[in-house]
Amino acid sequence: MGVKLLLEKAHVEGIRSYEVYRREGGYRSVEKAIKTMGPEAIVEEVKKSGLRGRGGAGFPAGMKWSFIAKPEGVPRHLVCNADESEPGTFKDRYLMEFIPHLLIEGLIVSSFALGSNNTYIYIRGEYAWIVDILEQAIGEAKANGFLGKNILGSGFDCEIHVQRGAGAYICGEETALIESLEGKRGNPRIKPPFPAIQGVWQRPTVVNNVETLAAVVPIINMGGEEYAKIGVGKSTGTKLMSACGNINKPGVYEIDMTISVEEFIYSDEYCGGIANGKRLKACIPGGSSVPILPANLLLKTAKGETRYMNYESLSDGGFATGSMMGSGGFIVLDEDQCVVKNTYTFARFYRHESCGQCSPCREGTGWMEKLLYRLEKGQGKSSDIDLLWDIQRKIEGNTICPLGDAAAWPVAAAIRHFRDEFEWHVTHAAEAQTRNFGLAHYADPIHVPTTV
């Protein structure tokens, strides 16, 4: 059993209520932080912990906090990103639903560290029932003096407000989220200025993921150095993974980032192996935006080393032969799945979710979707594959926000590693409508891909 820091108590009977949560040691970190540490010491502790953002980009949280501008007389804000809309990612939902007080506790400590008197949770619109759970937890925390005026006699005031989104993936991008929170259309802003300087209502703002902020609780409780001892290298602490697809035990798992990908998929503690005795074909290890990998490159790096479930190892080999930890949405495809269809499904999602501000993303995502649809239906041409490659190349890096990249990467990776499956859809168009390409050579011991 690996170390559990976030979900250890998630299944204690009644943990959603304040009494049980408190009895189990909850809100200790608030007491410790407010009574014995100052804001700087907290930021220092988070820096020492090596905690990296869990929302997708993996940016060091402590460093982000230290960037926040502190102009005299201007309020600052902490915003918790609970928009979680990435296909394959559902870890924040689990955390908020089962152990809501953990997030509230983390938010109080973080708000104190950043000097945010009004902190916001921006939550995905579809998570309607979780709003009630969070608001109840906030009410209980307030009734017990952990929120509101003069928290624990410190003179620090803090309120947490829950704001529901309206069902747009793009509002998970931090600047779109800020626009939406301000009541505007959720278009990502053009950066700079960054939120740390001008965020919500032009005030200095920090946006962090749910899991990032919840992780502040164990960091304060055990100390940043102890936290950093868990895990490996720059992947410190524990990480929530939401596993889905063709596995025996889909669900949310807390891992300590030292286990191998193979262990994560096959051990009974986690995914429990591929369902129905099938074989592993491919996997998208970090949510729909990250590159897909064939089985052989998933379990071993291009150098033939074991691949581990952490930031560095998952991205070993760059985009040519690696992928990314992303937001921890672990999607497993067995030998019966069609990579072309999967890529089409993602492309359709990104087309639908593009905000439409910048031309490459607005037009390119729709074009890719149409081409992939045609290929999947056996009506494509072999030149379509090269065209797709060229389109994704012209979107990537040329857009306002990373959604453009997120739409381009899955297409690029699918063509890079599964080009023969795409070609088969053209050369064996009729057959492709009746059966799947199957496992082919995708699990064969290290096959180094030929396309760039």
Partner: protein, 372 residues
């Protein structure tokens, strides 16, 4: 003199000094010519504009004197300010040209290409952009998108299929009118310009959306299908208007006023009046004053020689513009040589043959060939 310190910036190997806070695009416009990146969404007189179309992407090969690292990605020159010692590549960067070709293709992907029936033809920035950076064919083999038609009132015609979603008209409504009544509905490739509930746009200054729209998505209904812009004669004129500056360009044929627009500079933006404010014009001037007698005519408007509009030779002597600087002044005292008589100086032509007088088209025999 401004208080701002001056920054040195090099764009396509040309160095100039600009006040701190200037964007790369505006610095490049100061140099002018091909060095200025095309800009489809940026509009210097509209706050917050730019950053969206991505046609103005440039490569920053050196960040600044202090931090010489290049920027990892291409940046939107309209929204990136210069740093001291910055080096920028526009047309000298293959990466930029490649990305820009992509952007042009994306912008044209769903465009109906209905220029033959579009009132904007001849003064459309997308047309110019396509001529300069576009390819002849398209690789798009799908149906172009269409929209349900919205009627936005008696003055302004909306053709959503032509819109490139530059947001300029949204900024106009935000910044020039009391209350914005239209906006962008929905998102992605299905987003559209519309009013929430079918509504006509009638605010005093809303007509300016026509002038800022880079394409034919918003055109003047009172001018619709009446004439081609290149058959018209643009004349600067003014009237004493209680609402706006009253300084306009009339587009005439004979004595008939076909349409009224604001006066535009070489970047297609509304000119400033003497007080330095943009000379936006009001709806009354634009839509109601269609008699020559409503206006005091100042004289013909200068139109760029490259523009198709200038092909109309609308004013007898407008082409005869006395240059402010003589050749020798521009060339540091050097006297013009070759250009004095290109016909005789040319090694290609035969000076004894006047090409304009020969019967029929010129043939190779009418020119000097290498052999003789």
């Amino acid at each position: 003199m401004s208080e701002q310190p001056l920054f040195k910036v090099t764009i396509d190997n040309i160095t100039i000094e600009v006040p701190a806070g200037t964007t790369i695009l505006n610095a490049a416009r100061k140099i002018g010519g091909d060095v200025a990146p095309p800009a489809m969404c940026y509009y210097s007189k509209l706050q917050g504009s730019g950053g969206k179309c991505r046609t103005c992407l440039v490569e920053v090969s050196k960040g600044s004197e202090k931090d010489p690292r290049p920027m990892p990605k291409l940046v939107a020159s309209c929204r990136t300010t210069v740093m001291d010692g910055m080096e920028v590549k526009n047309i000298t960067s293959p990466k930029v040209l490649d990305a820009r070709a992509g952007v042009v293709e994306f912008l044209l992907l769903n465009h109906p290409l209905d220029c033959p029936v579009c009132d904007q033809a001849g003064e459309c920035h997308l047309q110019d952009l396509s001529y300069e950076h576009g390819k002849e064919g398209t690789r798009y083999e799908f149906q172009r998108r269409t929209f349900k038609k919205h009627n936005i009132g008696p003055y302004i015609q909306l053709h959503m299929t032509r819109c490139i979603l530059c947001y300029r008209c949204v900024f106009v409504a935000d910044q020039l009118t009391a209350k914005r009544e239209h906006g962008i509905l929905d998102r992605g490739d299905h987003s559209e310009i519309a009013t929430m509930i079918e509504k006509s746009l009638e605010s005093d200054f809303i007509g300016n959306v026509i002038d800022v729209c880079p394409v034919g998505a918003l055109t003047d209904k009172t001018f619709r299908f009446k004439n081609r812009v290149w058959f018209l004669k643009p004349m600067d004129a003014h009237r004493d208007c209680p609402t706006c500056s009253g300084k306009v360009t009339l587009w005439n044929r004979g004595d008939e006023v076909f349409r009224v627009t604001a006066r535009k500079d070489e970047w297609g933006e509304v000119e400033n009046t003497e007080d330095g404010k943009p000379a936006w014009i009001c709806n009354t001037c634009r839509f109601e004053k269609k008699q020559t007698s409503d206006w005091v005519i100042e004289g013909p408007r200068m139109i760029s020689r490259q523009s198709v509009i200038s092909q109309g030779h609308y004013a007898g002597n407008i082409g005869m513009h006395k240059p402010n600087e003589t050749f020798s002044a521009v060339h540091g005292g050097r006297q013009p040589k070759l250009m004095m008589d290109i016909h005789t100086a040319s090694e290609v032509n035969k000076p004894n043959i006047e090409l304009s007088l020969i019967n029929g088209p010129a043939h190779s025999t009418d020119f000097n060939s290498k052999k003789d």
